[in-house]
Amino acid sequence: MRISYKEPSPNKGRLNINFIAVILFTIAGFAAAILANIFIPQISAGVKIKDYTFGGITLNINSAYRLVLAALIALYTAIGIFSAFDKDRRKKYKKRAQFRFAAGIALALWDLFGTKLQLLPQPFFPGPAGIIEAFLSESGFVIQNTLYSLRLFAVGFIFGVAFGVGTGIIIGWFPKAYYWLTPVLNIAGVVPAVAWMPFALTLFPTPFTAAVFLIVICVWFPVASLAASGVQSTPKAQFEAARTLGGKTSYLVFHVAIPHAMPQIFTGINTANAFAFTTLVMAEMMGQPGGLGYYINASKVWSAYYKVFAAIIVMAVMFSLITKGIGLIESRVLRWQRGLVK
């Protein structure tokens, strides 16, 4: 019997046949969704297909839907090619191939039952192409509301984090502040921020500032309490080391206590992030002149559920991107923890 020796596959390499198959498999689901959309005739009469013109290009919901699918195919092909030259990336891409394939098939089925056959209860569950109609018919309005939400979130979140880190450090550093402020923080902090809505609307000059206030207080609580506990948990030996090195109070605060509290501050920020999304949407649904929450409410009144779905999709994308962005900042600031905490 002969034992053959196989060269171990190198980390960097050419696009090999197997991996091309993985890429094709990944995009096959979306390709199937496009074919399904093209070749399955519109059976139900409940869908009116209108043309929308954008600067010379005419789109209807089906062609726009196919464009989105084509964009996804292009995206995953590009990621596939990019991943092909690195072992770890290849592994990651391969692992996700099944899910991406299934996502494409799910879209095809959704298209079939939601749009083509309209077997799902209408108008509550439109097909994917139906949802896209919101972006075709009033893209300007969707963008306007998205920007309103984004601005509200950014202002509220940034102020909330700044305010939270500031008070947290004061509470963590000064025992007196801890004594007097912790009970306030604990009692006020557990109240959902939107409960203050009626006060906020009367106390602040504009609905926008009122909503900012609500986001600030919902972000403030987790950030402040975790920043305080981060400062307090700094080992005494670290302060003593800094003092024997010649560090004065400002050094102890800014170069010992705060860096030590950073991991906990980020835990607080991540919690606050989730709170802030909820508060944002609720505040918008309760009394804002714009924003995605407002858009959902306004669409619901007209039973335009496809627009509600469109707003939800925008939120999903926007909030994931924000969360991802915060994650990137976190891994940069806490790079010293890499390999320490897993």
Binding site: E240, T244, G246, H255, V256, W336, L340
Partner: protein, 259 residues
């Protein structure tokens, strides 16, 4: 060489809480000459770390005085470097930044930048400048802690069992490094340890302390020339001598077991 750098006069330190009074230090007197290497040994609870913390200015005595070159010690000062048992390094700073911390804390970093590389050379950690403390070994971390304390050019280097958690090879390595550093800048070092061999290997004088209340029972001069041989006859006889003293000095003699 003969001038006194540190004088400890009649120190008492008592820890009290609601139902307990512990006399950690009782009437401690000691004077240390410039350039000396002093080891303080004793069983746990004899107050050796308390004494070192008082010298550093991290704690205050109830009575008595500590003088550094004639001036009373009231708070920590960069002229007295301190190396902690472990965990004294800042986890969020690289090796390089940890060593530079003393310069930054004193706001003299800009004019002394070059010293950081010198100290990295000195402790032999080239190539690890950008590593974080959790990425290096315990022995390396203690060398960083020593360099961090030395970069401020302290008159006194206080070492609180810096090798306590290390294996015996790393320990021997750092002991030699300490002697080398001491020769290099003629620093005065005070080491707290419970390792008799370590004390004999390094010290000019060994201060033996006994617990409850913590006091100095004896000060021994070690006149062996450097480098000392750990297995040498004289070394071993001193070691035997100290161990016997310990047995005698112990307030609660260990029971003898027979099989």
């Amino acid at each position: 060489m003969s001038d006194v750098i540190l004088e400890i006069k009649g120190i008492n330190r008592i820890y009290k809480d609601e139902d307990n009074t512990v006399e950690a230090l009782n009437d401690i007197n000691l004077s240390v000459k410039r350039g000396e290497f002093i080891s303080i040994i004793g069983s746990s609870g004899c107050g050796k770390t308390t004494l070192l913390r008082l010298i550093a200015g991290l704690d205050k005595p109830q009575s008595g005085k500590l003088l550094q070159s004639g001036e009373e010690i009231i708070s920590p000062d960069p002229s007295r470097g301190y190396v902690f048992q472990q965990g004294g390094l800042f986890q969020w700073l690289t090796v390089e930044q940890n060593i530079a911390a003393g310069l930054k804390a004193r706001r003299v970093y800009k004019e002394n930048k070059h010293k950081v590389a010198e100290y990295i050379d000195l402790i032999g950690l080239n190539g690890f400048e950008k590593s974080y403390p959790h990425q290096i070994s315990g022995g390396m971390a203690q060398r960083v802690a020593i360099a961090r304390a030395l970069i401020n050019d302290p008159e006194l280097l206080l070492l609180d069992e810096p090798m306590g958690a290390l294996d015996s090879f790393t320990r021997a390595d750092i002991q030699d490094k300490l002697l080398e550093l001491k020769r290099g800048n003629n620093a005065t070092m005070i080491l707290v340890t419970h390792d008799v061999d370590e004390a004999i290997y390094l010290s000019d004088r060994i201060v033996i302390m006994t617990p409850r209340p913590g006091k100095i029972s004896e000060i021994m001069e070690i006149k062996l020339p450097h480098p000392r041989h750990r297995g040498g006859v004289e070394f071993l006889s001193i070691r035997k001598n100290i161990l016997e003293k310990f047995h005698m000095a112990s307030a609660y003699p260990e029971p003898e077991y027979r099989i």
